[in-house]
Symmetry: C2
Subunit: 359 residues, 2 copies
DNA sequence: CCGGTTTGCTAAACCGGTTTTGTCAGCCCA
DNA sequence: TGGGCTGACAAAACCGGTTTAGCAAACCGG
């Protein structure tokens, strides 16, 4: 075994075969431009030497990397624990793979998203959960990198894929309303930046859906009954506990993600309460496992995987330069009623919305 | 807006600033080697022109990509639907991000893993579920790429991280045995290649654990009561259904992944049977959601996230050249008993193991 | 047998950076 | 006053490929 084992380069092969670098390159990429005997001799020697063209050098000359980036404003270590992201990634992966692209995840590098973006070697990016007012979006745009926005605030100039967040939230709120609930808690998703995700994000749209639907039924949603946390099981538990410990006693909780809903259910169980007997819970996303939770989760369905697929398809089309007007796709949501919601318990029904019950 | 907007290069900046490329490069990387006034003037112009060093060119000269690869022998679109993978990736991401590395997923490109490997621009790779006899391992080794194997057959020459698969499986089997079960079904994970995953993979180790523990109790595990399928919810459902439709009537099923276990529970419920009343189910992995399923899943816990973290730490150490003997780490497993398992129903207890019950 | 085309291959330029080496002016000190 | 240093920058080589331009020999029709 050699000690340092310097990578064998195209020049090594060329020299060993007694030909030029060009010939070696041709042997690999345009074999028809070479005498068939020469070509196979070169290939033989290359193989014998264990030569593999350096992908980086290749990228440089061809001006394409063969991979697409998934951009998230949050650390991957938190994002990956959300089952939603699994399905979404699966959708992205499915059509990327089909078209021969690899997947590169781009997340804040030591806190800086823009640093991460500039280090990333991708042909295009799908950005998830980035609001349009994020400064990094401009950086990408200036870098001329094809991009599509998912779940963000589509103010227009970039292609985007979204779902009907507000409509979905309305369905969720209407559902608990119909079951007689009047004391309602909302578990909102923590934005990438602690305070203020901007006015147009997913969170805002869903919140508006909840709030307006409740308002139309004369039910107020005081700030004190809204908690914010990361979109994970623990995040949901903690958010619920925070509100509970502050004296909130809702009969229904509307969670902005299934993970949070599941966390809330766990927290509720730990308090010795039952779902949906004492407290109803509705989620958002309808992840694969939502049908198998205890109890099976009533939730707003969105085509998570389809969203990933649509995003990549869109991205590919802008990468291929059909540089027409930016396309905006909006996918539908619907309510899936399972067993985590039920009618208000009789004794609680008449409690006014603004006074927490004490049992 | 410019039409073609050619990328602005270091030469453009140099020319515009009336300096050499070297100066521009220094301004970015070694500012102390320049007169402070010159440096800031260059930076100013660079910024004004919207110049960003091309990461690919940078990679080429520095011989490092700044990202690590996750190699899977299966398509990402299937891998990502396994909640196990989410936690595992989160672990990988956590320590990668901490050390400033990006994440690149490498999966079979149009069916060829080795093609994918050669296109990948990474400084090192953690390979999950690759058995040591996989030919691509040799390719990587020959390419001189640092690598650590996770959940594979560690025959030795590469660093590896594994768990005590056999021990975990023994715990699962012993548990159902103790509950009185004698008619047992196994749901095994489908390997990357349809037939024959080699003799040493995860599947084999777990199978051995099941089989030997049962054998020690005098219980046989006929081939007819083993089904193989992808490690997903649907995969579990289908595998169970296949066996059921073939007349198998187990009182307990041992699944090699939580996803499959959940799928099996779904299938069982669809047949109108109860878990654990009529059939007990034990999973493997203990994913985040296992505590929240209906019913909460009895399963073999493994430190999924910790496995990812350990893998990257190991990888970093071999990347940094501490080229000592390959390290092999083995993480522990333990049984977590929740509510998907229970004692055999009275009427069934005496049925011999090799004759399927009929109700 | 001659001009034009094709075949098979090479030299050199290029991709966009980094790094090594070199140049030149100013300064210090004997 | 001149030799050695140092500071500030430039020129050129280099990373490892691809691609363009070109050249010599073989071929080819008339």
């Amino acid at each position: 075994m050699e000690q340092v084992a310097r990578r064998v380069t195209i020049a090594d092969v060329a020299q060993r075969a007694g030909v030029s670098k060009t010939a070696v390159s041709f042997a690999f990429n345009k074999p028809d431009r070479l005498n068939v005997a020469t070509a196979s001799r070169i290939l033989g020697i290359a193989n014998e030497l264990g030569y593999r063209p350096d992908p980086v050098a290749r990228m440089l000359t061809q001006r394409r990397t063969g991979s697409i980036g998934i951009l998230t404003p949050q650390d991957l270590s938190v994002i990956f624990t959300n089952p939603f992201f699994g399905s979404f990634s699966a959708g992205i992966a499915a059509v990327s793979e089909e078209h021969g692209y690899g997947l590169h995840f781009i997340s804040p590098l030591h806190g800086s998203l823009s640093r991460a973006i500039h280090r990333a070697t991708v042909d295009g990016v799908v950005a998830i959960g980035l609001t349009d007012d994020h400064p990094e979006i401009d950086e990408i745009r200036r870098a001329g990198l094809p991009m599509v926005l998912v779940d963000s605030a589509t103010t227009g100039t970039l292609a985007s894929v979204d779902i009907d967040d507000e409509g979905g939230a309305r369905l969720a709120a209407a559902h608990v309303l119909e079951l007689g609930h009047r004391t309602i808690m909302v578990l909102a998703i923590d934005g990438p930046r602690a305070a203020g995700i901007g006015e147009h994000g997913v969170v805002q749209r869903r919140m508006r859906g909840y709030r307006e639907t409740l308002a139309e039924a004369g039910v107020e949603l005081p700030e004190a009954s809204i908690a914010v946390g990361p979109a994970s099981i623990d995040g949901g538990s903690e958010a619920f506990d925070r509100l509970w410990d502050a004296g909130q006693r809702p009969t229904a909780v509307l969670a902005m993600s299934d993970a949070m809903a599941i966390g809330a259910i766990r927290a509720i169980h730990r308090k010795g309460r039952s779902v949906p007997g004492e407290i109803s819970v509705v989620g958002f996303d309808d992840v694969d496992l939502a049908a198998s939770t205890d109890p099976p989760l009533t939730t707003v369905h969105q085509p998570v995987r389809g969203k990933g697929e649509a995003a990549v398809r869109l991205l590919l089309s802008v990468m291929e330069g059909g540089q027409t007007e930016p396309v905006h796709r909006r996918l539908e949501t619907r309510l899936v009623i399972r067993s985590s919601t039920g009618p208000v318990a009789a004794g609680i029904r008449e409690v006014p919305a603004d006074r927490p019950t004490s049992a």
